[in-house]
């Protein structure tokens, strides 16, 4: 939001109304549906990338119920995997009462493509029920299942940790709150180097197909196109390129996961980051 308008809102509009005005004013860049940003009480998940080319993937899951109550509340950490085309593939469930759990994921069977998954919680009591005793009024909030993936390259005791991609995925994948908006241009501050190879992995948390243009910023622009189904995943392999890249899409923020030197001869100098 422009600084002047933000100051005006702050001075002249009370808190709850200010949030609503802010959502409406920023609608063109709001990653969630406006209605859900204001009134929703559903729980959502980030959208995590499954990489079939690494040795193993551990997931760091937080137990929000335990963190808020200070007690070992037992929950099921559930993971639902979708194919690269966005179709449901498989599910895994792990019981835990710890505040944080490190879970080695099996992943979808026979997967050879990059794909995506969500993390959600099943528990005896909903989070809303657990905390509502502390509040008189109805509150609008939901759990946001974040978590971290740790991708281990071959023969390494250290994996590369990264948090999930923007998701807003509710109701076990049946309610998608992420929205496509105006065209945005995102240029991560990352210097690609020609002696490394990169897999840029995009997933689509919105309810319709998305088109992404990958613009290699050289003397003359080189543009590649991807189309991704709802809940689908696609990767783009980048080799022998040095410089910066811009992503053009209708996602307010189009941040692929970047895997550096994921396999092949250059198995050293492996890295994963959220661009």
């Amino acid at each position: 939001m422009d600084h002047k308008i933000k100051s005006f809102f702050k001075k002249n509009i009370p808190g709850p109304l200010r949030n609503i005005f802010s959502v409406i004013y920023n609608r063109g860049s709001n990653p969630y549906s406006s209605k859900s940003s204001i009134f929703s009480q559903v729980n959502i998940s980030d959208f995590f990338v499954w990489n079939p080319h690494v040795e193993k993937i551990d997931f760091i899951a937080e137990n929000i119920r335990a963190l808020f109550t200070g007690e070992n509340v037992e929950v099921l950490h559930c993971f639902k995997f979708f194919s690269h085309e966005g179709e449901f593939l498989s599910e895994e469930k792990y019981k835990s009462n710890d505040f944080f759990s490190r879970i080695p994921l099996n992943g979808p069977p026979k997967s050879s493509f990059y794909s995506s998954f969500i993390h959600y919680i099943e528990a005896e009591k909903s989070f809303h029920k657990l905390v509502k005793i502390f509040f008189k009024n109805k509150l609008f909030f939901g759990e946001q299942n974040r978590g971290y993936c740790i991708y281990y390259p071959k023969n390494s005791l250290v994996g590369s940790a990264v948090h999930g991609n923007f998701g807003g995925i509710a109701s076990k994948g049946k309610n998608l709150l992420a929205r496509q908006r105006l065209f945005h241009l995102y240029t991560p501050v990352y210097k690609f180097e020609s002696h490394n190879s990169y897999d840029l992995v995009f997933n689509n948390p919105t309810s319709s197909k998305i088109n992404i243009q990958i613009i290699l910023n050289k003397n003359s622009e080189e543009i590649h196109h991807l189309q991704i189904n709802s809940l689908g995943t696609k990767s783009f392999k980048l080799e022998n390129f040095a410089g910066s890249i811009t992503f053009r899409s209708k996602l307010p923020i189009c941040r692929p996961l970047l895997f550096k030197n994921v396999n092949g001869l250059k198995s050293v100098n492996f890295d994963v980051l959220h661009t």
């Binding site: 422009d2 709850p16 609503i20 004013y25 063109g28 860049s29 940003s37 929703s40 009480q41 760091i60 937080e62 929000i64 963190l67 808020f68 200070g70 505040f99 944080f100 490190r102 905390v131 509040f135 509150l139 609008f140 909030f141 939901g142 759990e143 946001q144 974040r146 971290y148 740790i150 023969n155 390494s156 005791l157 250290v158 994996g159 590369s160 940790a161 948090h163 105006l182 065209f183 945005h184 241009l185 995102y186 240029t187 991560p188 501050v189 990352y190 210097k191 910023n217 910066s244 053009r248 307010p252 923020i253 941040r255 050293v268 100098n269 492996f270 890295d271 980051l273 959220h274 661009t275």
Partner: protein
């Protein structure tokens, strides 16, 4: 709002005679914008000023003119600073940097609209030919906060019992625009099941605090190698980052943990998050 861009501390492991070197990569480009706002983009050169905290003053180290679309790298070993000395870079549209100042100058911003994501840079660690990067920043608003609180956890650490070649470090970063704000603050590190037996650690405003997490595991007598400990401070906020390294395979990993407020979403989330802070920080 604009951002400051830190240069992370180099990590020296004297017992292994190893050093993990740090660098920061900046780019003159608006990182995210609506396409129809392209005409508002700054396509001219900008100036990148880099300051070090010297005593009670921010001292200018260098000014780099950076063309549109051009990267600029700052490597800690290439400048005359200590391995953990606070070094911060900032953007200016004009070449207007005081050579020294008690208050770190306010940066200019390259943002043109309300598109998400703060202005960021690549924060990098290097070890014998390998590099890990994390895109991050230190928000201008946060650098104006004298008091605050902090709560995080160390679940991203890697401490296998069978290997001495693996180390994990927690890097806590606090930047304050006022160079005189360098008070010592107390950190409590504890097993969430035994909060009364917390480990007391010292940190400082306007500095990097690097904690070897193997030492924490030993001090708290953890039987489980991946037992997650909580870290809190009642008087200062930090950005926490986790660096793990396998010295045998030269594998590095750098990532931050989310702040507590990101565990929830929706317009009333901050009211509910207060419960979490009350439970773990205040008590």
């Amino acid at each position: 709002m604009p951002s400051y861009f830190p240069l992370l501390p180099s990590i020296c492991l004297h017992s292994l005679n190893k050093e993990i070197k740090s660098s920061t990569t900046l780019l003159n480009n608006t990182n995210n914008l609506k396409e129809f706002n392209q005409s508002r983009k700054n396509l001219k050169s900008i100036y990148i000023g880099t300051y070090k905290l010297s005593g009670l003053i921010w001292e200018l180290i260098s000014i780099k003119k950076c063309k549109y679309g051009e990267f600029f790298d700052i490597t800690r070993n290439a400048i005359n600073v200590k391995s953990n000395q606070m070094v911060v870079s900032l953007f200016k549209i004009q070449d207007e940097f005081p050579t020294s100042s008690r208050i770190l100058p306010k940066p200019d911003s390259l943002r043109v609209d309300s598109s998400p994501v703060a202005e960021r840079v690549s924060l990098n660690y290097h070890f014998e030919g390998t590099t890990t990067s994390y895109l991050g920043e230190y928000p201008y608003e946060m650098a104006n906060i004298d008091k605050g609180s902090f709560w995080s956890f160390d679940a991203l650490k890697e401490i296998p019992i069978t290997s001495k070649s693996v180390k994990s470090f927690l890097i806590l970063m606090n930047i304050n625009r006022d160079a005189e704000k360098q008070s010592e603050v107390n950190l409590d590190i504890y097993n969430p099941h035994q909060k009364d037996e917390s480990l007391h650690w010292k940190a400082r405003q306007n500095s990097f605090t690097v904690i070897n997490l193997e030492e924490i595991n030993k001090a708290l007598n953890s039987e489980k190698i991946h037992k997650t400990f909580f870290i809190q401070c009642k008087s200062c906020n930090f950005i926490p980052m986790f660096l793990s390294v396998d010295f045998n395979n030269k594998q590095l990993s750098l990532e931050h943990t989310h702040p507590p407020h990101s565990l929830l979403w929706g317009r009333d989330r901050l009211k509910v998050i207060k419960l979490l802070k009350d439970r773990w920080i205040i008590k």
